[in-house]
C-alpha cells in the first residue's frame, strides 16, 4: 500500500494542476453573455433533437464483451511468460509450454469461432 502512495500523490497533484489551469483560464478568459443559439448543441446546422438521448449501436457493447473475454485470457499469459525462463532452466520447459499450448488452443478456437460467426464484422 505504501508503494502506491506516490501514485496517489501524483494523481492528486495532476488534478489540482488541471483545476488550477481551468480556473485561471476561466478568470482571464473573455466573457460573453450566453444566449439560446450559442448554447445549442453544435451539430453542423442540423437542428438538434433534444427529446432523445444519443443512441449507440449494440455493436459497441458486443465489442466490449469480447474484449473482456480476450483481455482476461491475455492477462493469464503474463505470469506464464514471467516464469517461462525459470522452468526451462530447470528442465521443465516442455511441460510449461504444453500447459500454455492447451490454454492457447482454447483461445485460438474462441477467436476462430468469433470470426466465423461474424461477430467482428462492421458494416
Amino acid at each position: 500500500m505504501s508503494q502506491l502512495l506516490p501514485v496517489f500523490a501524483l494523481t492528486v497533484f495532476v488534478i489540482i494542476f488541471g483545476c488550477a489551469l481551468l480556473g485561471f483560464a476561466h478568470l482571464i478568459g473573455a466573457r460573453a453573455k450566453p444566449n439560446k443559439v450559442k448554447d445549442e448543441t453544435y451539430e453542423c446546422g442540423q437542428p438538434p433533437d433534444p427529446t432523445r438521448p444519443p443512441q449507440s449501436p449494440p455493436k459497441y457493447y458486443q465489442t466490449a464483451i469480447l474484449f473482456i473475454l480476450f483481455d482476461i485470457e491475455i492477462i493469464f499469459m503474463y505470469p506464464w511468460a514471467l516464469t517461462y525462463g525459470d522452468f526451462i532452466a530447470q528442465g521443465y520447459g516442455l511441460y510449461i509450454f504444453l500447459a500454455m499450448a492447451f490454454f492457447l488452443a482454447v483461445f485460438i478456437f474462441g477467436l476462430f469461432w468469433e470470426v466465423k460467426s461474424k461477430a467482428l464484422e462492421w458494416e
Binding site: K38, T41, P48, D71, I74, T83, L111, E121
Partner: protein, 386 residues
Amino acid sequence: MGADVFEITVNFVKMVAIFLLMVQIVPLLVWVERRGSAYIQNRFGPNRVGPLGLTQLLADAVKFLTKEDFVPGRGYPFIYYAAPIVAMIPAALALNAIPLSSPVHVEAFEMLGQTWGPYVFLAQGYEFGIGVVFVLGVSSLAAYALLLAGYGSNNKYSMYGALRASAQTISYELAMGLSIVGVILLFNTFNFTEMIAQQAGPLVFSLFGHKVEALSFLPNWGIFYQPLGAIILFAAMFAEANRLPFDLPEAEGELVAGYHTEYSGFKFNMFFIGEYGHMFVASLLMVIFYFGGYTLPGVNPETVGKWFADFSPTKASLLTALVLHGVLMAKVVFFLWIFIWVRWTLPRFRYDQLMDLGWRTMLPWALANTILTAIFILIARHPWGS
C-alpha cells in the same frame, strides 16, 4: 533505510518535474508537427512569430487562456469539466513509472547541522516490480477521459466519437498486450531497468547449448529477437494514442470533430497534453523494449561512469545519469518524429477496416508471434546435454 523529509521532498519534486516535462513537450511537439507537416506537404508552416516560428507556441498559449470559458447549454458541466483533467492523469502516471535514466547515487552530506543520506534516487517517479503491467493498466484508463468528454458534452457526434475511441482503444489493446508477452518471454522480467540491463552488451545468445557470437558486432537489442512484435506494438500504439491513420474518434469528415467537438480553449489543449503524453509513453516503451533503452554499444552505466571517474561519486553519478538521459531522449525523439511522419503520410482508415485490422489481422499475428517466440526460446534455452 527509512524515508526522511529530504528524500520525500526530492521524490515529490522529481514526480512533478517528470509531469511538467510531459506538459512542456506538448507545445514543442505541436511546433514540430506543424513545421514537419509543412515540410512534408511543401508548405511554409508557422514562420512569422519569432525565429523559425518558435514563439508561435507562446501566442497559442495566450490565445488558449483568453478564450471564453464555454459550457454547452445541454451538457453536464461537472463531467464536461472533469474530462480534460482526467485525460492528463493516465499519461502522467504511466510516464512516472518508466525509468528515464540510470539511478543517481548521492553520498552522505551535511546540511542544517545534520547528516543526510546516503540516498539512491531513481530517474523515475516510482518503481514497481510489475512496471510493465502498471504502465499497460494505467494507460488503458485513457478511454475514460474520451467517454466522459463525449457523455458530458451531450452531443450526438461527441458521443459517437467517444464510443469509437473506446471501442478502438480496447480492440488494439489485445494486440498490444499479446506483443508485450513476447518481450516478457524474452527478458523474463516486468521491470524496465532489468530489461535495459539485459540489452546492454553485444548480441550473444545460446543455441542448442552453444554460445553464438557471430553477430556480436550488433547490440543485444530486443528488436533482433522480436521484429514482428515490435511492428505490431508500434502499430497498436498509434491506435492507443488516437493518432492517424487510426484517428477515427475525431474524423472530421464524419463526426464534426469527434469527442472534442464542444471543447475550446485550454480544455481542448488538455486533451492534447494527454494525447502527446501517450505518444511520449509509447515511444519510451518502444525504445525500452526493443532498442536498448538508455544504452548504446559502448555506452552503459558502467562505461559512462568511468568517463567521470575524476569527479566526486555524487557528481559522477549525476553526470552519468544526464548522459544516459540524453541517449534515451535522442531515441525517443526519433520515434516521436515517426509518429508525426506517419500522420502526414498515410490517409485515414475506414471504421470497419480499422476494426478488421485490429481483430482479424493484428490479433492473430500477435498470437503467432507469441507462440513462435515461446517455441524458439524453448529450443534455444533448453539445457541441452546437461
